[in-house]
Amino acid sequence: MVIEMKNVKKVYHTEEIAVEAIKGVSLDIEEGKFISFIGPSGAGKSTLLNIIGCIDKPSSGEIKVNGIDVAKLNRKEIAKFRGDNIGFIFQSFNLMPVLTVFENIEYPLTVVKKIPKDEAKKMVEEILNEVGMGDQGHKFPNQISGGQKQRVAIARALVTKPKIVIADEPTANLDSENSYNIIKLMHKMKNKHKTTFIFSTHDYKIVKEAEIIFEVEDGMLKKREEEK
């Protein structure tokens, strides 16, 4: 199992009340699956993805990612763990505006994984071609479209060859055609790289591409559709 969750809870405390965002979720995910979390806004999809992506910690329960109990890692170790094992695709693309498309993809290789520049260059060129952006490397994020930005974000997430890619609402800022194309691309990349893809959406049209669909509602999880 690439992800093992046992009775994971997440409680947010405000000054007056405590809000339980995740209410005891248990979940096992196998390697190389294309998984979707679907549900309305505020259901807890993002919280669940943040915990799986190791950028948030559960209030209680256990979570193992790639066999590691991530709750036991310190700040530095968890950053390294994410760099080695997890890729992220964000709703708003989150590319660095001062870097070119090429540099945005090169960043996790040279800064996070300390891969030599020459080697990184080859890897970036390869992944850029795979996402259909081979001739756009020199452009800055503000010079490309939303769909292209998300392709770059997919390339950035995959270039380090992570075990898991977390995509929180990757199509929320795209039109339906681009949304469909992005999901197709993610699926294609999952097959090519044997990476586990977990994405959240509230768009029922694109969710059908997923192999496993989990419905998230009020902090709880239920499997809606079995493997295709």
């Binding site: 948030d56 992220f88 001062v98 996070v112 950035r156």
Partner: protein
């Protein structure tokens, strides 16, 4: 790549970066202008005091400086010690020249009325080496050799009050250490202008005439000029060492005392005040840099919180996030201080070619601002370090952001 990102980041908000850089640069320009102007003032004043009055170092009989009357003729250096000291000073290559002097108070009479005047008796040929600028203050003398036996240079104030001019005769009456009074007739060969400094109102006569007038063979002081004024303290220490070794009395104590020019004039306290003002100005500059950079970096962290969350989520270690911001602060401080230094140097150069001069009393200060490369480099290093320090807190905050909180913002 981190350095490249930091470099690009400082140009994200060009207007804000330009404004911050401008504030720092103006601060640096002000410091350089102040340093240049005060250095020029100090140089002129120190030059006037050392080159036309004191010399760089003076040797006196032990106890001279603590004596209430610094022209007391019983505080003399005896002839034997004087000659021994000359032979030692001649061996020192760092010394440009040295000369004996006698200083005393005398009465000047024009056969009609009398007035008191301080006299410095010199050996003109030797004095030229020690006080090369002295003749510039004396009207009527081109070369100090003109001050021959039987002649005198009187101060401007005496000349005015007694209506004396060049070519007139005066009678100079002096009293020696034993109280014996004697007088001599001397011809005025020059009128010396008043000047700021400890001996700015004294007249001059030939040493041999003074010895004859006072019926003594000894001298009161030996003034020394060194080749490099920056080495005064070093050479002063060397002479002290020599005296403590070879110029001892029967009790084994030094018979002479040595003082650099800085201990012989009150202008040293003016220099200290100028230096304190300079330090104050630098402290103000430090605060300008500190608050400008800190403000800019706090804004940058606030605006880029989401981006910090992204790079943190994809595995960037906290130390690298800290490093990116530190580089930004370093670049901004370094570039601003370099730009400010260049502008400051250009303004200094323009001021120096404009030949602006200020008159104060009878002295004039030609404003030729000079700033040493050492001072420029120190200023740039200081500003750069302060910029990095100012970046520390916002950079640390950025590196400690939880990715989930940062992304949520």
């Amino acid at each position: 790549m981190i350095i490249g990102i930091a470099w690009k980041n400082i140009f994200r908000h060009k207007k804000r970066t330009a404004l911050t850089a401008l504030i720092i640069s103006i601060g640096v320009v002000m410091v350089i202008l102040f340093s240049g102007a005060t250095a020029a003032f100090k140089k002129v004043m120190v030059g006037e005091i050392t080159d036309s009055m004191l010399g760089h170092i003076q040797v006196h009989k032990k106890g001279y400086m603590t004596n209430a009357d610094t022209q007391a003729l019983d505080m003399v250096i005896n002839t034997k010690l004087e000659k021994k000291l000359y032979s030692e000073l001649e061996k020192m290559e760092e010394i440009e020249g040295f000369t004996p002097r006698l200083k005393f108070s005398a009465m000047v009479s024009n056969y009609d009325k009398s007035i008191a005047m301080k006299i410095i008796a010199i050996q003109p040929e030797k004095e030229k080496l020690v006080s090369p600028e002295l003749t510039k203050r004396i009207n009527g003398i081109e070369d100090l050799s003109t001050l021959k036996k039987g002649t005198v240079v009187i101060s401007e104030i005496v000349a005015k009050s007694m209506k004396l001019k060049k070519g007139d005769d005066i009678v100079l009456v002096g009293t020696n250490a034993q109280g014996s009074v004697n007088g001599t007739t001397l011809k005025i060969v020059g009128i010396i202008e008043l000047a700021t400094g400890p001996e700015g109102k004294s007249g001059y006569m030939h040493l041999e005439d003074a010895k004859s007038l006072l019926r003594m063979e000894e001298v009161l002081e030996i003034a020394i000029r060194v080749k490099e004024i920056d080495e005064v303290d070093e050479i002063n220490a060397k002479i002290i060492e020599l005296i403590n070794k070879s110029f001892l009395n029967k009790e084994g104590k030094a018979t002479l005392e040595v003082h650099p020019w800085t201990k012989l004039t009150n202008f040293t306290s003016t220099i200290v005040i100028i230096d304190v003002m300079s330090v104050f100005l630098k402290i103000i500059l430090i605060f300008i840099v500190l608050f400008s950079i800190m403000n800019m970096m706090v804004m940058a962290v606030y605006e880029r919180t989401g981006e910090i969350g992204t790079i943190s989520a994809i595995g960037t270690p906290p130390a690298v996030i800290l490093e990116i911001f530190m580089w930004e602060g370093l670049f901004l401080g370094f570039l601003s201080s370099v730009a400010g230094s260049i502008v400051g140097l250009i303004v200094n150069y323009i001021i120096s070619i404009l030949n602006i001069s200020y008159e104060f009393g009878k002295s004039s200060l030609l404003l030729k601002p000079e700033v040493s490369m050492k001072e420029i480099v120190i200023t740039i290093i200081l500003i750069t370090i302060i910029s990095v320090v100012a970046t520390l807190i916002p950079a640390y905050k950025a590196s400690r952001l939880e990715p989930v909180d940062a992304l949520r913002s």
